[in-house]
């Protein structure tokens, strides 16, 4: 069996074409890297300039700006609890969502559950349509064959099953996906406690 030993300390003694190309590539990569850094910084600036000024009145924006984290190796976005609580509140208000989920349905007949489900479905439908605009990610018919080109967005399309080979990938559209294209959440006043998704009700 032949073994090849590579001595990494060896320096090229001649300037052949191979090494010229190598040096060129390194220089090109350095330039690209520099450019990316400059553009990235410019974008950052633009973004911060685009942030709207906080209104002087007492309306509190639901979505808090996420503080730029220290350069840790892994950055995870923290979900803002207010917006989540607000959505729960809307679903409860319109659709009695929490009431339905928190109820023990084991002892009820399907017919009874069905009647309640109408309340929940109708209300959720209203709440979601009023506050979100939803669209399918893929417009093709579910079950049809689709082809994903090279460089497709893996965040919007998830591959499953027999993932082998290289793009373009051809497969069956199992689920068309959903994406929110518009959000219209109510703004909250400073006195609003979002954790109260449904206030207790006392009739006098």
């Amino acid at each position: 069996m032949n073994t090849y030993a590579i001595d990494l300390s060896l320096k090229p003694t001649t300037f052949d074409l191979w090494h010229v190309c190598l040096a060129g590539t390194v220089a090109l990569m350095l330039i690209v890297l520099l450019l990316v850094m400059v553009i990235g910084r410019m974008r950052c600036k633009k973004k911060s300039a685009m942030q709207p000024a906080e209104p002087a009145v007492k309306i509190v924006e639901v979505e808090k700006l996420i503080q730029a984290p220290a350069p840790e190796p892994v950055v995870l976005k923290e979900a803002t609890p207010d917006a989540a609580l607000q959505l729960l509140g809307l679903l409860q208000q319109e659709a009695r969502f929490i009431d339905f989920i928190k109820e023990d349905i084991a002892s009820f007949s399907d017919a009874d559950i069905g009647i309640a489900a109408r309340v929940v479905h109708e209300g959720c439908n209203k709440a979601i349509n009023e506050h979100f605009t939803l669209a399918a990610v893929r417009s093709e018919q579910e079950g049809s064959k689709i082809t994903l080109p090279e460089g497709f967005d893996a965040a919007t399309v998830r591959l499953t099953g027999n993932i082998v080979g290289t793009a373009p990938f051809t497969g069956t559209l199992v689920h068309k996906g959903w994406q929110v294209t518009g959000i219209r959440l109510p703004k909250l006043t400073s006195g609003h406690n979002a954790a109260i998704v449904a206030p207790a009700e006392v009739e006098l």
Binding site: P55, V57, K58, I59, Q86, Q93, R96, D99, F100, K102, E103, I105, F108, D112, I113, I115, A116, R118, V119, V120, E122, R184, P186, K187, L188, T189, S190, G191, H192, N193, E201
Partner: protein, 630 residues
């Protein structure tokens, strides 16, 4: 009109910051019985056919602590108890603590606490026999709830709209824009005056009035982008049917020709009919309630309320989806336990047809009239809701009553044998008529009347947005007033009379005969006035003098000074009394001053009555808003 300040603006200020002064927007406000809408257009950016008004999203509280933008502001006002709402939970983008809760939140809170909810304030404005500046509402509130007047409620809605505008257009204050506020065509002079006063109260002293059916027609004209001339022809009589949440309003507009140009003239308006979509939802809820009670289920008041809500949604679904035969209705329990406590029933297509189509738009003959029972009890206790729900019967009465409305227009020729005025085209307005079944039925009934008199069928003018047309049309009117586009003529929709006791010997036990003296003729144009120098009255300084006041929307031929000795109830409607008090300044109390009366229609669109001294021509305003029972 107010171009001057713009030119006077020093150039440096313009260069420094694009500060706007003077009129820039034409703003239309639909101050509806159940909803308010504000529409606007930038007057600087309009070329002839490119008028496209926007509808303002109105920020409003929807529940305590939450503010949402909606295109409509529900015309409701809620008088919250001081312990009811948490601190800082009623802030709006422009104010930390508004005086009144209006809009969606008022409707939501009021649905569970009706004793604190003010609704239909607009209908109270033209309710004869009531002082609209007295704290009356909510009518059913217990004594400890601080009430508000219908006038205050109207002011509160206008104020909310003004503040919402201001927060979105900080450089264009609303009091510097062209503002048009719409009122029902059937509003009496006192109600128009009150609406203008409410606008003044929020600083909109430049606002002018426009009748809602006219606004709807303006919107149709604007939407057709100049094509309307192809859809309307000389000799057309356009019937505008406006069925809103709380009221039904009817108007007739004639299309005539003047030197080759089409002209539009509003020739007649109907009575104020308190009948609308809310009545329909309630009628359905009671139908379903009766069905449930037959099965032995009792409904509590809150359940009926919830049922009315679901009936409205179910009705719309049935009207929009012809393949559905019934829609399940559910009324959830109020406690946190949802399953088991929920009431289920259903609304069928048959019920909707029977209750709404047959009940509100019955197939009647044109000779049918609305039934009316004699009223019992105190009139001021509540609104005078229409007693007959048959809108088609009201329509028949209107068209028959206005048969002579076009007599003076030579372009419009009614056949000899006609028993009612024949409309040739129909324009719909109001959310109710979005339902195809109702719109079709209304056309069917009208065309059956026309066929019976060998007249061609009326065609439907399409393309209007039934919910937002009035506000859009009002914004367009602001543009028309600049001399662009066609303007609907019409003037006052009624002639007006004061009651004078006739000179005859007193007969014990009989009140003296009253004559009606015409002081303003039918169709008086804006900006004109008419005096009655020959009829002299002696007014006593310092003592209020009241006149009985009448209006007629059919007597077109009466001139100023015409005296009527006899009239039928159909011809003249008695309005609230009008009052004049001569101030004492420079005169001795008790002196008698000879005056004559003068009527003017202001540019704003209100009627103004004045007493003019025969001696020195000084003038005193005669007030409308003295309501009986004061």
């Amino acid at each position: 009109m107010s171009d001057l300040p713009e030119q006077a603006q020093p150039e440096t200020a313009v260069a420094d910051k694009p500060r706007q002064t003077g009129t820039r927007f034409s703003v239309g406000i639909d101050l509806g019985t159940t909803h308010c809408v504000l529409s606007y257009a930038d007057l600087d950016r309009i070329d002839d056919e490119g008028f496209s008004p926007l509808v303002m999203a109105i920020p409003q509280l929807t529940s305590p602590g939450s503010v949402e933008e909606k295109l409509q502001l529900p015309s409701f006002l809620y008088l919250a108890h001081e312990a009811e709402l948490a601190q800082d939970s009623t802030a709006l983008p422009w104010i930390a603590k508004p005086d009144f809760l209006v809009g969606e939140i008022a409707r939501n809170l009021g649905s569970k606490t009706p004793i604190r909810l003010v609704s239909s304030a607009k209908s109270w404005l033209c309710h004869t026999g009531v002082d609209c500046k007295a704290a009356l509402l909510p009518a059913e509130a217990p004594d400890e709830v601080g009430r508000v007047s219908p006038f205050q409620a109207t002011t509160a809605y206008l104020q909310h709209l003004r503040d919402a505008w201001q927060s979105q257009h900080p450089n264009a204050p609303l009091n510097q824009q062209d503002v048009v506020i719409t009122v029902p065509a059937s509003f009496d002079p006192a109600a128009r005056e009150l609406t203008v006063e409410a606008a003044h109260a929020v600083g909109l002293s430049q606002a002018i009035l426009l009748e809602e059916p006219q606004a709807a027609l303006y919107s149709w004209i604007e939407k057709s982008h100049g094509d309307w001339r192809k859809h309307a022809e000389v000799g057309d009589v356009i019937l505008v049917v406006d069925i809103g949440g709380g009221t039904t309003d009817l108007s007739l507009i004639a299309v005539t020709q003047q030197e080759g140009n089409l002209e539009l003239t509003r020739v007649a308006v109907g009575d104020h009919i308190l009948l609308g979509g809310d009545n329909m939802d309630l009628a359905l809820a009671y139908t379903v309630k009766a069905k449930l009670e037959k099965d032995g289920k009792r409904l509590e008041p809150w359940q009926l309320q919830a049922l009315t809500h679901s009936c409205r949604d179910a009705k719309e679904k049935l009207f929009n989806h012809s393949e559905l035969d019934n829609i399940p209705l559910v009324v959830a329990s109020r406690g946190s336990s949802l399953i088991g406590g929920t009431l289920r029933t259903e609304l069928t297509r048959e019920e909707v047809n029977r209750v709404l189509v047959e009940g509100f738009l019955p197939k009647v003959a044109v000779s049918d009239r609305p039934t009316s029972r004699p009223r019992t009890g105190l009139r001021s206790a509540g609104l005078l809701y229409a007693q007959d729900a048959g809108i088609t019967r009201h329509l028949a009465a209107f068209l028959a009553k206005q048969q002579g409305a076009t007599d003076e227009l030579k372009d419009i020729n009614l056949p000899e044998h006609a028993s009612f005025l024949h409309p040739t085209a129909v324009l719909f307005n109001g959310g109710v008529l979005k339902a195809g079944a109702l719109a079709d039925r209304l056309m069917d009934v009208l065309n059956s009347w026309l066929r019976a008199e060998q007249a061609p069928e009326a065609r439907l003018l399409t393309g209007a947005d039934l919910d937002l047309a009035v506000a859009r049309g009002a914004a367009y009117y602001g543009y028309v007033r600049k001399g662009k586009g066609v303007r609907i003529k019409g003037g006052t929709a009624a002639s007006y009379y004061v009651g004078i006791e006739s000179a005859m010997p007193a007969v014990p036990g009989l009140s003296p005969e009253v004559q009606a003296l015409c002081i303003a003729p039918f169709g008086m144009e804006e900006g004109t006035q008419q005096e009655l120098p020959d009829d002299e009255f002696g007014l006593v300084i310092g003592e209020p003098v009241r006149f009985r006041f009448f209006a007629s929307n059919t007597r077109r031929e009466d001139k100023v000074g015409t005296r009527l000795n006899y009239w039928t109830n159909e011809e003249l409607d008695e309005l609230d009394e009008i009052e004049i008090t001569l101030p004492e300044e420079g005169r001795r109390p008790g002196d008698v001053v000879p005056v004559h009366l003068c009527a003017a229609v202001t540019e704003v669109g209100t009627l103004e009555l004045q007493a003019i001294s025969q001696k020195d021509q000084s003038r005193w305003k005669i007030e409308f808003d003295v309501r009986a029972g004061e």
